[in-house]
């Protein structure tokens, strides 16, 4: 302890480590954040969509994911400037309309839009879809800007942030009251049930299209989301492959992502491909992020697709352990 303030070493500066660090620092902990990689977000976080969509996620995630992430949008809006609270939109190409009905049956907190309402919400999609689901309480964030902002916030709070710092010797961690392991896939040696789920994404620049919110394009084989970012950039992602293969994007994934863009709006045919990437998401068998504790060591891992969505709630659980009930 430093006076009454607990000292905490946080390992891993991806989304879960950064959010945990900020949360603990705000509660008064003396925080040291170390990252073995060359920069913050050097794991899966950097390739995330950044959708804050508790109700859309209910389509494929257990109810606790929705329950625990209801306040996520508020947390992000309270901490980083780039949060957009315009809701999210779900559409399907005409021949896959049954998928939209199915999505509607599995989710809640949405409105069903007709073509006029779609056009009012997203003028560039006028005339393109007969039906859409609109989830007004959702939002999105640019992951890279958000993580960078959290790092700056931490430094302003007086926390120590060390990048490119190899994992500390266990003996050195004893000088801290608590150690929090947020290392994702790098921490799998200590987490036998953790597995990697490969995801692939592309970033394109398309000044001809303007979207104000993420759009999910349903398809029986692979649901794809398209998230607008600043400077006419759009991120399309993400595949889900039960593999820890770290190669770059495959032709199949690329063609599926590009097809989704083109189906959403033909002007994407002229878009510039700015970036393609593949990352490995850490996941537990139920695909739900978890906090667990062994003595003075806390682990937050298995963020899967829910890093940005669930880090605030899970960081709160970590704080609960550190500061007592």
């Amino acid at each position: 302890m430093t006076g009454e303030r607990p000292t905490v070493l946080i390992q891993g500066a991806g989304v879960s480590g950064l959010v945990t660090a900020v949360t603990l620092a705000e509660r008064g902990a003396v925080v040291t954040l170390v990252e073995a990689g060359p920069r913050i977000g050097s794991g899966a976080s950097w390739f995330a969509g950044g959708m804050l969509a508790p109700w859309c996620e209910a389509e494929a995630a257990p109810a606790e994911v929705t329950r625990d992430s209801r306040d996520s949008l508020d947390w992000w809006a309270g901490h980083v400037p780039s949060v957009v609270s315009n809701g999210s939109l779900v559409v399907a190409p005409p021949r896959d309309l049954p998928e939209l009905a199915r999505f509607g049956r599995r989710t809640s907190h949405y409105e069903t839009l007709d073509p006029a309402a779609i056009a009012a919400l997203e003028p560039d999609l006028a005339g393109r879809f007969d039906r859409a689901l609109f989830f007004p309480q959702e939002g999105h964030v640019d992951p890279r800007r958000a993580l960078t902002h959290l790092e700056a916030l931490l430094e302003a709070q007086g926390a120590m942030v060390r990048i490119g710092c190899p994992a500390p010797d266990p003996r050195d961690t004893q000088e801290y009251d608590w150690t929090v392991d947020c290392t994702g896939m790098d921490g799998r040696a200590d987490e036998p049930s953790l597995r990697g789920v490969r995801g692939e994404m592309i970033l394109v620049r398309c000044p001809e299209v303007t979207l104000s919110r993420p759009v999910r394009m349903l398809h029986p084989r692979i649901p794809i989301y398209i998230v607008p970012r600043e400077d006419s950039l759009f991120m399309a992602g993400a595949t889900m492959v039960e593999s820890e293969d770290t190669r770059g994007i495959t032709v199949r994934a690329m063609s599926e992502l590009l097809n989704a863009l083109y189906t959403l709006h033909p002007a994407f045919a002229e878009a510039e491909i700015v970036e393609t990437n593949a990352g490995i998401r850490p996941a537990y068998p139920d695909n739900v992020p978890r906090v667990h504790r062994e003595g003075k060591r806390i682990t937050l891992n298995g963020m899967y697709r829910h890093g940005f969505l669930l880090s605030p709630a899970r960081a709160k659980e970590v704080a609960h352990i550190v500061f007592g009930g």
Binding site: R195, P220, R221, V241, E242, E244, D286, V288
Partner: protein
């Protein structure tokens, strides 16, 4: 069902793809109690190590594994994938799929027969995914297959048994060959119909994995298999064109007008 001298514990085969999580997959497998589970190697196959986590999870389910060549479009791809599957799962069983058409995922039956011949020569026990075509079935048997897996309808379509006439003809033509309806089954009623047609087993995946409650649906399919098999063994009545009263009318009291 008996296949290649192995008695399957249940006539239900269950695919392991498309579940929302491995936990949900494991719970569905427990509820379905299948005789075999199928697993795909193609998409996860960039080097043998990359897919190990998922594969060891599948092995841990403690159900015989029938690896498949889903997603293969050529003889060579299918043969290579089968060889890899033998290494990963230490089994000579292979569900052979060679896709010939992208929209309906129809089997390329020409490549299928060729791949089946190569693989049986190499000692594989081949479970070929085919159509209800009698001539193709004949060729597959001549290539060394001892089991046939005709489709009910295109993969993932959930349309049930699209061509009952053709499936009945296939069943009648090869009465002693173990046959599995593979693909197209969407509801337990389709499964019952498959057993009523005389098929020995069914293979399902999307119908369970993409149901609102996969575990419940897995249990429903297990029951449907039992229902279908028992009904067939009970020798169902035949259809008739005329009504036949189940209670005799002779001697019924009549109150005349």
């Amino acid at each position: 069902m008996r296949a290649y001298d192995t008695q399957l514990a249940s006539p239900l085969m269950l695919g392991t793809a498309l579940y929302d999580s491995p936990t949900l997959l494991a719970e569905s497998v427990r509820a379905a109690n299948p005789g075999a589970i199928t697993v795909s190697l193609r998409r996860e196959a960039a080097g043998l190590q990359a897919g190990q986590s998922f594969w060891s999870l599948v092995r841990g389910l403690d159900v015989p594994v029938l690896p498949n060549t889903a997603g293969c479009h050529t003889v060579r791809e299918a043969v290579t994938t089968a060889q890899m599957a033998r290494e990963v799962f230490e089994t000579d069983w292979i569900k052979l799929e060679v896709i010939g058409q992208g929209d309906l995922l129809q089997p390329d039956v020409f490549a299928l027969v060729e791949a089946a011949r190569i693989l049986t020569d190499e000692g594989f026990k081949v479970f070929p995914y085919t159509t209800e075509d009698l001539v193709v079935a004949e060729r597959l048997l001549r290539a060394g297959c001892e089991v046939l897996m005709p489709w009910g309808a295109p993969i993932g379509s959930g349309r049930g048994l699209n061509n009952p006439f053709g499936l009945r003809a296939l069943r009648a033509h090869f009465p002693d060959i173990p046959m599995v309806i593979d693909a197209g089954i969407g509801r337990p009623s389709h499964a019952v119909a498959a057993f009523e047609l005389g098929y020995d087993a069914i293979l399902i995946n999307t119908a369970v994995a993409k149901a609102g409650n996969p575990v419940s649906m897995a249990r429903a399919f297990r029951q449907a298999c039992e229902v279908g098999l028992e009904a067939r063994a009970a020798d169902p009545m035949d259809e008739r064109d005329l009504a036949v009263p189940s209670t005799p009318t002779l001697g019924k009291a009549s109150f005349g007008a």
